[in-house]
């Protein structure tokens, strides 16, 4: 059943994806009216799927790739909706929706999740670690989306030609605020998540855990994250420079994610 709910959610997120693609191909705001309720429904089904699979397995099964992809997508959507309520704009969705769709899609086509038997994963700290980190990721994604939109809108304004996108996007300053605030929002989660993870890892592996590629990449991402915040705070970097940094952070985050496949300490499949 959870897989079914997840697949339904994926279909709804598909509307979001379609919306983004149409908007980016300059076909205009065709799905503008239905995209918000559609992804909202997607979020509800997604939630149901997560709750059900948790109950079914009997515990929080963080460690399956499918499950964590699903959770990350869910948190990204939650953060998106928080900012949507504040700013009444779907625009960051242009970037967020495709990412969420890909994550849930990958999760939904997956085979039956491999349940992890290791008692280690039942630890409550793991729960805290994963949720914190993923919320941090979600903030970063949203900020990345916003900075790309900022670039697009800035370019449109500077080109001085009338542009379909220009009519649809919220004011530049709103996008800027969304980007900055989602960054601010995500940072404490990311930091605490890393701290929680480190505590866990030291407990289990000792100080040597740090040489793991995934851990290294994660800390690197955190450093870039902090750099983003710092440059913004100290000299108000935004626009092109901020977008480059955010893209870099996003790529590192992807790397950190992918590192699951070659990480020793952080392998999902129990060894």
């Amino acid at each position: 059943m959870p897989l079914l709910w997840l697949r339904i959610a994926t279909v709804f997120y598909g509307v979001g994806l379609l919306y983004s693609l149409l908007l980016l191909s300059r076909q205009g705001n065709i799905l503008g009216k239905i995209v918000e309720p559609a992804v909202g429904l997607g979020l509800i089904f997604h939630f149901v799927s997560l709750v059900e699979s948790t109950i079914q397995i009997g515990h929080l099964s963080w460690a399956s790739i499918q499950y964590s992809e699903s959770l990350l997508a869910f948190l990204a959507m939650v953060v998106f909706f928080i900012f949507f309520t504040a700013y009444r704009t779907v625009s960051p969705g242009v970037i967020i929706f495709p990412v969420v769709f890909v994550l849930t899609f990958a999760s939904a086509i997956g085979q039956k999740p491999i349940a992890l038997t290791s008692p280690f994963f039942r630890n409550g700290w793991i729960f805290v670690h994963v949720v914190l980190i993923f919320t941090g990721y979600a903030g970063l994604f949203l900020s990345f989306g916003a900075s790309l939109l900022y670039l697009v809108e800035e370019r449109a304004l500077k080109s001085k030609r009338s542009n379909v996108l220009l009519g649809l996007l919220p004011p530049l300053q709103t996008i800027d605020e969304i980007g900055y605030r989602s960054l601010l929002f995500g940072f404490p989660f990311m930091t605490l998540g890393l701290v929680a993870g480190s505590v866990l890892a030291i407990e289990k592996y000792g100080p040597m855990f740090f040489y793991d590629p995934k851990i290294l990449l994660s800390f690197m991402m955190w450093a870039v994250y902090m750099l983003l915040l710092y440059t913004r705070w100290s000299s108000g970097w935004r626009g092109r420079r901020a977008a480059f940094l955010a893209t870099f952070a996003f790529v590192v985050a992807l790397g950190a994610w992918a590192a699951n496949y070659f990480s020793r300490t952080h392998r999902f499949i129990a060894s």
Binding site: E154, P171, T174, S234, S235, G236, G239
Partner: protein, 439 residues
């Protein structure tokens, strides 16, 4: 009619070219005066705004060398700019003047500023004695037409002025203008108008810098703003989110280096520069800096292109009104041409009649009152009978533009009528003996 208009506007010429032809306010009276006194030209008006430079003249015989005047005045040959210049004569010139005054030729169709600008140009021309009869009639009519277009079509009600386009753009950048600050460089009308719009949308702090400090103070007072001495311009301008510049400076005031400094001081918070000056105050290179947006008067035009399409039907109605008015004006002007001829013809014949009666009276001796009346009636009757056809012909000819001058000229020659304007050309003399009598 002998009207001629030569000019450049936002449609025919980019701002780089218009800059070449723009005439600063201070030089306008002299320029107008020298246009009106240029050989072959009777009257002249010059309209010079950021969007257009129009040289309007009435020539002696329809063929004055206005380009020659331009060459002399600007100090360069206008020939290389030929493709940017338009030229209208006679009816077309009248139509053009009506369209300009009615804001149909404006960058933002229906915007109200242009009428005021044309009125100012007219006042300048009057002050230096560059307009008298016909151009005066034309301008008065143009203002009436503008009023009619304004009241009979919706063109002005939905007008988007340059100022409100600037507001829209500012909103696109800053979102809410609540609490944003505006810096006016130059204390001109357009600056004031734009500032008024921005203030109406919530912009709070308003700074004004002007070369003449008193004018800055006067304008700042209107907005409860703050006047800044011009020397402090570069130190203070970065305090503002929106900068509107419209000075008469011949060179740019702000360049890319200034922009970099401003951004540094503002911690890269965006700035929006609106350059409504021609020649431009702001180096367009500044637009390349991250976080600085520079729109000059031509860019604003691109933004409003869509608005113009929306008002197409209203504009069409307005054009119809203009067309009607052109016809009316033409026939009025031509009747104006023929009236003095008829009057002087009648006067001439009356003199002849009186002279003849006096002469006959000497030979006939004293006449009874009845005889006096009979002679009076007889002579008057003969003259009226003879004159009936020529006068009707004159009036008809006046309405058919092609032969009016020929007929008037012929009548004057046949009866040996004196050209009233010659010798008695003092200003203020009744409108007789104006064109049509010249050749």
């Amino acid at each position: 009619m002998n009207f001629i208009v030569i000019g450049v506007n936002h449609q025919t010429a980019p701002v780089e070219v218009r800059e070449q032809f723009a005439i600063p306010e201070a030089r306008l009276p002299d320029a107008t005066k020298s246009l009106a006194t240029y050989p072959g030209i009777e009257e002249g008006i010059i309209v010079s705004t950021c969007n257009r430079v129009e040289l309007l003249a009435r020539t002696v015989n329809g063929n004055a060398d206005v380009r020659g005047f331009m060459h002399q005045f600007y100090g360069f040959d206008p020939a290389p700019y030929k493709r940017y210049l338009y030229e209208y004569r006679e009816r077309d010139a009248v139509r053009h003047v009506f369209r300009v005054a009615s804001s149909l030729d404006s960058m933002v169709v229906g915007e109200p500023q242009i009428l005021g600008q044309v009125k100012e140009a007219y006042a300048t021309a009057r002050a230096v004695g560059a307009v008298s009869s016909h151009l005066d009639a034309l301008m008065t009519r143009a203002f009436a037409v503008a009023k009619r277009v304004r009241s009979e079509t919706a063109i002005a009600t939905s007008a988007v002025s340059v100022a409100s386009v600037a507001v829209d753009l500012a909103k696109k950048i800053f979102g809410n203008l609540q609490g944003k600050s505006v810096y006016l460089v130059g204390a001109g009308k357009m600056c004031e108008l734009s500032a008024r719009h921005l203030a109406a949308h919530g912009a709070r702090q308003i700074y004004v810098a002007n070369r003449t400090y008193e004018r800055a103070v006067a304008l700042a007072r209107k907005f409860d703003g703050q006047a800044v001495p011009f020397e402090q311009l570069y130190d203070t301008v970065s305090n503002a989110d929106i900068v509107i510049s419209s000075t008469g400076a011949p060179h740019t005031l702000f360049n890319k280096e200034h922009g970099e400094k401003f951004l540094h001081r503002r911690k890269n918070r965006p700035m929006f520069f609106i350059d409504i000056a021609v020649p431009r105050d702001i180096d367009p290179e500044m637009n390349k800096l991250d976080g600085i947006f520079v729109y000059d008067i031509d860019d604003l035009q691109q933004v409003v292109a869509s608005h113009i399409a929306d008002r197409k039907t209203e504009a069409d109605r307005a054009e119809a009104i203009v067309q009607l008015e052109v016809d009316k004006f033409q026939s009025r002007l031509q009747t104006l041409d023929v009236v003095p001829t008829i009057v002087s013809l009648q006067e001439h014949l009356e003199t002849v009649r009186q002279a003849e009666i006096d002469r006959v009276r000497g030979r006939l001796g004293k006449m009874t009152p009845e005889q006096e009346l009979a002679v009076e009636a007889l002579t008057r009757g003969i003259i009226n009978k003879i004159m009936h056809t020529p006068i009707t012909t004159l009036k008809t000819a006046a309405r058919e533009s092609t032969e009016a001058t020929t007929v008037i000229d012929l009548v004057r020659r046949l009866f040996g009528l004196r050209d009233a304007s010659k010798g008695t050309a003092a200003p203020g003399v009744a409108d007789d003996g104006k064109p049509g009598m010249r050749n």
